[in-house]
């Protein structure tokens, strides 16, 4: 016991820090300071996310704290059917404000549904072609070109929907209105396709070559290999791509604002005009009185949007990690 203690003491003495020159010590100190500063900077990302939820929620808080606001926009008025001819209306600036969120939910989901209906098959099939069938040259051309579609500003897509797609869609589906849920959904699909494509393509390329070789060696055709071996192996990643696209579709603002018609209808008819949550914020925040109930309501919609997309994002990133871990044996 005693001997061990002396031995340990001897050891610590032996490896005690060598005496450093002042210059070396100063250099060490400087390195530490730099490392500390860089670590501090890395905190910005976390801080930004926290500040976003805190400050958006803070402005919405009046809905629950302020007596007058609580009366004007109670939870039951926001989410339950009201008496009268129209049980669900979003008219926050009329004499008797109606603040039902239901038409906004319905509008958002309707538009998102149309866009997913188009963009999931297009994105996943496109990714399958680029990852599995396209010759190398074509692949190296197609991938960046499709990524370029993601670089078109959403206001330009909204403008394109308004000027070019609108008459085409109206005639094609025999709709009454030039601006409607179908048009908004189709235009939205243009923004979602590159997201689904890129993430799906990454998942498909992560599937090891040995899977394909084994399947082909057993006599499966190229298509059978792609459809029954590669696609199932990459399935979590492709699901993640769809979830990510879904989140993007829910939050996208300018396209929907410009192309949906923005009427607060509760109707599942895809040809009707629709009002989404994001477009409501964008359209009404400009004219609202700071601190009013309407103002808090718009921030409350923002909180809902934040939470929806946050959950979808977490789900998507978990699945992406899962597919990477399964296929490569490590999560990076």
């Amino acid at each position: 016991m005693d001997r061990q203690a002396t031995m340990e003491q001897g050891l610590t003495q032996a490896v005690a820090a060598p005496r450093l020159s002042t210059a070396a010590r100063r250099r060490q100190l400087r390195e530490k300071a730099i490392a500390g500063f860089i670590t501090l900077m890395a905190f910005t990302g976390i801080a930004a996310l926290l500040l976003i939820i805190v400050f958006v929620a803070k402005e919405a808080l009046a809905l629950f704290m302020d007596a007058e606001a609580r009366h004007e926009a109670s939870l039951s008025k926001m989410f339950m059917a009201q008496e009268g001819r129209y049980p669900f209306r979003w008219q926050p600036v009329s004499d008797t404000p109606k603040v039902s969120m239901i038409p906004l939910f319905v509008g958002t989901l309707k538009i998102t549904f149309v866009s997913m209906l188009v963009s999931v098959p297009l994105g996943v099939f496109g990714a399958l072609f680029v990852a599995e069938f396209a010759p190398r040259r074509l692949r190296e051309l197609l991938k960046p070109v499709i990524e370029l579609l993601a670089g078109i500003p959403s206001v330009v897509l909204g403008f394109f929907a308004l000027m070019v797609l609108s008459p085409v869609v109206k005639d094609l589906f025999h709709l009454d209105r030039p601006l409607n849920g179908t048009l908004a959904g189709l235009a939205l699909a243009l923004a979602i396709v590159p997201v689904i494509f890129t993430v799906s393509e990454d998942a498909l390329t992560a599937v090891p070559r040995s899977y394909r070789e084994a399947s082909l060696a057993l006599g499966a055709t190229l298509w059978e290999t792609a459809w029954k071996v590669v696609l199932p192996a990459a399935a979590p990643g492709i699901l993640a791509a769809c979830v990510l696209g879904f989140g993007r579709a829910i939050g996208e603002t300018m396209i929907v604002l410009m192309a949906s018609g923005n009427a607060d209808l509760v109707s599942w008819n895809l040809g009707d005009s629709a009002r989404s949550m994001s477009a409501t914020i964008a359209a009404e925040m400009g004219e609202v009185v700071v601190g009013s109930t309407h103002y808090s309501l718009l921030f409350f919609i923002g909180v809902e949007l934040f939470l929806f997309t946050f959950v979808l994002n977490m789900v998507a990133s978990t699945w992406t990690k899962k597919v990477l871990r399964r296929l490569t044996g490590s999560a990076s």
Partner: protein, 303 residues
């Protein structure tokens, strides 16, 4: 089933996937061609250098171009140092298995998914009302001065929005710098920060620039976050101070397209505005995609 039938079915379905890829590319081409064809007719030197007149129907869009450029420049100045240093921390400084680094990554992934309109709300609630209001109280302004929409707050809001873009591209660039170069530098007696500044960052420069270009292209095209943090439809003066409002190409497009009494009549200048906006963001994107494809190929061949 006979092998030939299976092959035929497979080929047909493969054709379907090719069709999907073709449709995506065709839509892209359609948008670009439509805007280029209709916009080019109305773009002229006068259009690019004059302020609007006759209720936006005449004159040009110079203030909007200037506003977009100034906004994006401010945003880049704000986002680049923070974004690059965060990526440097994640890839160079974080101890392996660091919990803090994992949290930063989760935050960055989620930040990238926050809807752009929520950034607008955040800019209003945090920058304008909280920071701006605080500044006004501290500096003793009687009237609102900083607590109102301005180019500074819009730029900072966009900086937060583009932060993930910069972090992700910078990290990818750092990953492409071979480990040998770092160990060689350290073995020669350089400190970690010297290695970073003289070896790692120069090696990663093309990728970091790609990140900057992507962030600029994204920031220049976003409209939702600046709707209530500083954009204005028409201003007689250019934004010369941090607290002035500004005109913006994207916002201009939005208002003209949705609130003109006669869209057909306005379609000339409108298409031209869209063409300028698209040329700006798209050209930047093209540059970024080309650099990135090249670095990726180089990185792939290095391993």
């Amino acid at each position: 089933m006979k092998y030939t039938t299976r092959r035929a079915v497979g080929l047909a379905l493969t054709g379907l996937t090719a069709l999907a890829a073709f449709i995506i590319v065709a839509m892209l081409a359609l948008i670009l061609l439509d805007v280029a064809r209709n916009g080019a007719r109305h773009v002229s030197w006068a259009f690019l250098t004059r302020p609007p007149s006759d209720g936006m129907m005449g004159g040009g869009i110079f203030p909007a171009i200037f506003g977009t450029a100034a906004l994006t420049l401010l945003m880049t100045l704000a986002v680049m140092p923070v974004g690059v240093l965060t990526a440097v921390y994640l890839h160079e400084y974080a101890p392996p298995g660091s919990r803090f680094a994992r949290w930063v990554r989760v935050a960055v992934i989620n930040l990238a998914g926050v809807p752009s309109i929520v950034f607008g709300l955040f800019g209003l609630g945090f920058f304008i009302l909280f920071v701006g209001g605080g500044l006004d109280r501290m500096l003793g302004y009687e009237e609102m001065h900083w607590a109102q929409p301005s180019i500074l707050w819009a730029a900072l809001t966009l900086a937060v929005l583009t932060l993930p873009v910069v972090i992700v591209s910078t990290e990818e660039a750092l990953r492409a710098v071979p480990l040998d170069q770092r160990t060689a530098s350290l073995a020669l007696g350089a400190t970690q920060s010297q290695t970073l500044v003289r070896v790692v960052l120069p090696g990663a420069l093309p990728g970091i620039l790609t990140g900057a270009v992507l962030a600029i292209s994204r920031g220049a095209g976003e409209v939702a976050p600046i709707l209530f943090t500083g954009a204005a439809y028409f201003l007689p003066d250019l934004p010369t101070q941090l607290d002035s409002q500004f005109m913006h190409l994207g916002y201009h497009t939005y208002v003209m397209a949705t609130q003109s009494p006669n869209v057909t009549e306005a379609s000339g200048p409108l298409y031209a505005t869209v063409l300028v906006l698209l040329a700006l963001t798209f050209a930047l994107n093209l540059v970024a995609v080309i650099i990135r494809t090249r670095t990726r190929r180089k990185a792939a061949s290095a391993h």
